[in-house]
């Protein structure tokens, strides 16, 4: 039987919604500030961020990212643990270097951790504290402390993440490079905490990469060995960047610094087709024999498609209105991976995609190209917007056809989903109405979980 190819679907011209220029007001935030990268540190086992900032900055960033965002838990020791100078009028007027020195001294005395990262907020960056100089005093004594300039006006927690990552590599992890280890890979994937599913996704990605015979520096989360993995970064055979843009600068930096090659796969894999393709691409790059990777893939597919086969009975004969078109709102990585899965695995059609991570302009064309060919017959032009007013205008302007829209979004889309009588899955920051422990949507196993979530949500309407 032959299948007639569909026309390439496009969403038409980009909805004209932005009533404000770029870098204008942002309504209902979808990321934290650069200091939010304190949670990048908190995601490393036994690492603790030290924040040099005003009294509420650390609380706001980690509260937003780690609490009312899927209630993920704050990291080593929990919410509120991060030491902070809690800068006052005194520091603003007289400078905060002495206060920082005092805080780091007592942190090292009091706290149990393998790595501390000093992050700055707006105050020290505005008044001109020489934070590197203060931290270098401790480094000279061999203390495991690094510094990262993350003043809130310098960027968001995506760019802050790259700053922190690079700070740890340059100031902590590159001293004892050692010989290259074949089969060892550094994985640069989801943004911890911003992505509520990062722990589960990393666990699945690590399992998959190990399955084809690699050893993985997963770097963040419970599956990481902590600082020993960071110290092993320079020894890896290569870097694997699994995101449209995040982590790419780090991989390029590592290539410059250690001559380490990298493989950039912009679409984090969800589902059978994407995951098998992903594993073959990695295997080819890593020089893993086809047969070795192929055997693992075959076993995984047997499992995966067994479940899909069982699900097909529901999918083909549930008669009470399942969604056909979807909206994806979130960062470039999340929207691209979920859209690919929804299109290629479930045969859903995108009605609108809004990318909300303030993607650096130089990466936007590549992302547009990736969305243009989600599959051979389906593409869409994404909207780049961070202001929820514009985001929601774009969703309202989309054509969802006769069926209730399926919205992959955030808490900010809750009310809109009601207005449109659609189904909502909170898949990105903020996800205040999801509780996530180990759940992830990546790979084969994550895809099954995602299918469960989508269709439990859909059929719950008549429950």
């Amino acid at each position: 039987m032959s299948i007639t190819p569909l026309q390439v679907r496009r969403s038409g011209p980009t909805p004209v919604v932005a009533d404000v220029p770029e870098e204008g007001p942002i309504e209902q935030v979808r990321y934290a500030c650069a200091l939010g990268a304190m949670q990048t540190v908190a995601a490393i086992p036994r690492a603790i961020p030290i924040t040099h900032c005003g009294p509420g900055c650390a609380d706001k960033q980690c509260g937003a990212l780690a609490f009312n965002n899927a209630y993920q838990g704050g990291g080593w020791g929990g919410l509120g643990v991060a030491p902070s100078t809690n800068a006052t009028q005194r520091e603003v007027i007289f400078g905060g270097e002495n206060r920082l020195r005092e805080l780091v001294t007592h942190t090292l005395d009091l706290m149990e951790a393998d790595l501390f990262v000093v992050l700055t907020g707006c105050i020290p960056d505005l008044i001109g504290d020489d934070v590197p100089a203060v931290v270098k005093e401790f480094q000279a004594k061999g203390a495991p402390v690094v510094y990262a300039g993350t003043g809130g006006f310098r960027g968001n927690n995506y760019t802050g993440h790259e700053v922190v990552t690079r700070a740890i590599i340059d100031q902590f992890a590159s001293a004892d490079a050692g010989p290259r280890e074949h089969g060892l890979v550094n994985l640069w994937a989801p943004l911890p905490y911003q992505d509520p599913f990062w722990r589960g996704d990393l666990a699945e990605l690590k399992r998959l990469l190990q399955g084809i015979g690699l050893r993985v520096n997963v770097l963040f989360g419970p599956g990481s060995a902590g600082v020993s993995e960071w110290r092993a970064i320079p020894r890896a055979q290569f870097n694997l960047v699994l995101s449209p843009w995040l982590g790419l600068a780090t991989a390029q930096h590592l290539e410059d610094k250690f001559g380490q090659p990298y493989l950039h796969l912009p679409v984090p894999p969800i589902g059978g087709r994407q995951t098998s393709e992903f594993l073959r691409q990695v295997a080819a790059f890593a020089g893993i024999p086809d047969a070795q990777a192929g055997a693992f893939i075959a076993a995984e597919e047997r499992d995966y498609y067994g479940y899909i086969e069982a699900f097909s009975e529901f999918y083909s004969q549930y008669r009470w209105g399942l969604p056909a078109r979807f909206a994806a709102i979130g960062d470039a990585a999340t929207t691209l991976s979920i859209s690919s899965f929804a299109v290629r695995q479930l045969g859903l059609v995108p009605a609108v995609v809004v990318i909300t991570d303030n993607t650096p302009p130089e990466h936007r064309d590549a992302i547009r190209a990736a969305f243009a060919k989600l599959d051979h017959d389906v593409g869409i032009e994404p909207v780049f917007a961070e202001d929820s007013y514009a985001v929601h205008a774009a969703i309202r302007g989309a054509d969802f056809g006769r069926k209730p829209p399926l919205i992959f979004g955030t808490t900010w889309e809750r009310d809109l989903a009601k207005e449109l009588r659609g189904f909502i899955l909170e898949v990105g920051f903020p996800a205040s109405y999801e509780v996530v422990l180990s759940r992830g949507y990546a790979g084969y196993r994550g895809a099954l979980t995602l299918i469960e979530r989508i269709y439990t949500t859909a059929i719950s309407r008549s429950a």
């Binding site: 009533d19 404000v20 870098e23 204008g24 007001p25 942002i26 309504e27 209902q28 935030v29 934290a32 500030c33 939010g36 036994r46 603790i48 924040t51 005003g54 009294p55 509420g56 900055c57 650390a58 609380d59 706001k60 509260g63 937003a64 990212l65 609490f67 009312n68 704050g74 020791g77 929990g78 919410l79 509120g80 643990v81 991060a82 902070s84 100078t85 809690n86 800068a87 006052t88 009028q89 603003v92 007592h106 942190t107 009091l110 706290m111 149990e112 707006c122 505005l126 008044i127 003043g151 809130g152 006006f153 310098r154 968001n156 007013y389 808490t411 900010w412 809750r414 009310d415 205040s432």
Partner: protein, 511 residues
Amino acid sequence: MAINLRSPSAETREQRLGTITSWDGPASRLANESAFSRGDCGPGCGGKGQRICELESPFSQGSTCSEQIAESQASNVRDAVLVQHSPIGCAAGHINSNAFFRNGLMRRGLAPRNVTGLSSNLIERDMIYGGAEKLRATIKAAVKRHQPKAVFVATSCATGIIGDDVESVVRDCEDELGVPVVAMYCEGFKSKHWSSGFDAIQHGVLRHVVKPKPGPRQDNLVNIIVLWGSDVFTPMLAELGLEANNILTVASVDEIARASEAAASATFCYSVGGYLGAALEEQYGVQEIKAPQPYGFDGTDAWLRALAKATGREERAEAYIAREHARVRPQIERLRERLKGVRGYVAMGAAYAHGVIGVLRELGVEVPGSLVFHHDPVYDSHDVRQDTLGHMIDAYGDVEHFSISNRQPYQFYNLLKRSDPDFIIIRHGGLAGLASRLGVPAIALGDASTAIGYQGMIDLGEEIVDALAQRKFHQDLAGHTSLPYKQWWLDQADPYLLARQNAPQAAGSRV
């Protein structure tokens, strides 16, 4: 001391009230040391410059700021819009405020919906060239998009340092747009305690929202200055033939505006409502209730009687009080039976804690220790009848370990070890998780009304019974967890050791 509403910004609490954030000792000693502020401690005690000795620790963990409080309040006014003039990170607080708002609406019987807040989204360039024009554009966008009844504007550390002329922009916009544009001066670094944020919004509301020329006095209208709790006041006041005007959180702009027409103002917590209550009395003659807060039999009786006296409803109040005593006492007796020998620990804002400790003692729960996040030696009325700490001690006895700290988990460990409670009652995030790791269940009082009034004693008692059952979860965890502190600190008995070592004299430094 009069509140100066001609100034665009409220004075900080440490300036106005002598607020402190770090102290340790028995509650009775703190009450004595605070007595100067009420002028009743005899000659040679009071006078300008008098302050309570404060402990200052060289180690600190992230606290909370006044901007966060101002934001959480302003974003939760139903038909207003919040503008945060700041880099994007301050607006991360939306996530938290949104959860408060959705729950707050539900508790008041309204449909939950998201908060509407805009950040002026300042970036590096704005730090150099100034952000005033972005603020103007953001306020205009807020009004054009949402047609709010008021716009609240929160300042930030960054705008405070670069010196944006927020007042001029706000004034221009108010004139041009024809809606109240309320500046809240709440730069985090300016006050060491977040409760200054309550004053920041209340000051702004008094200048821009409350009717400056009130209509006729509404003799049955009483402002109740509340947070997100269930509306327990409407039924309570109805018994006296009064209407509760619940402000500011989850209120409408009109409800806030009519505050100057009310007969009286009262609150569940003078830490939260003291500034607005005092200013409404000074400025508009709205009587502020000066009595203990409505917790436990003693406090609730006194609060109702003061309210009844102010509004001429003494007989109805006495009848209601008698009915409620008769209804509630047998249930309290049953709860006292169940809670015999149970130890509780209270960690929350100061005046609120004083009330909740009273309720625990009504329930027969032992309270060997308590943590308050700050201490105001006096509230803005400077009236001894609002001495909530003194009332707690007089009515319910001393608290041996009464500690003040602005939410420091490293100290909280030793504080809990010292008091060894069976459960904690807590407000504000960031500490309950630590209790859990020690095997101690927490009652996170999300509904600020839980403990209020006669029924509040029963409700809180039942919360405790539920929480004690959950010890299984926490004790299971305690056997499988570790803490990020060195052993010498975990072995340390004195939670304030670092501060005491830091002090120039053993007694602590004078601030």
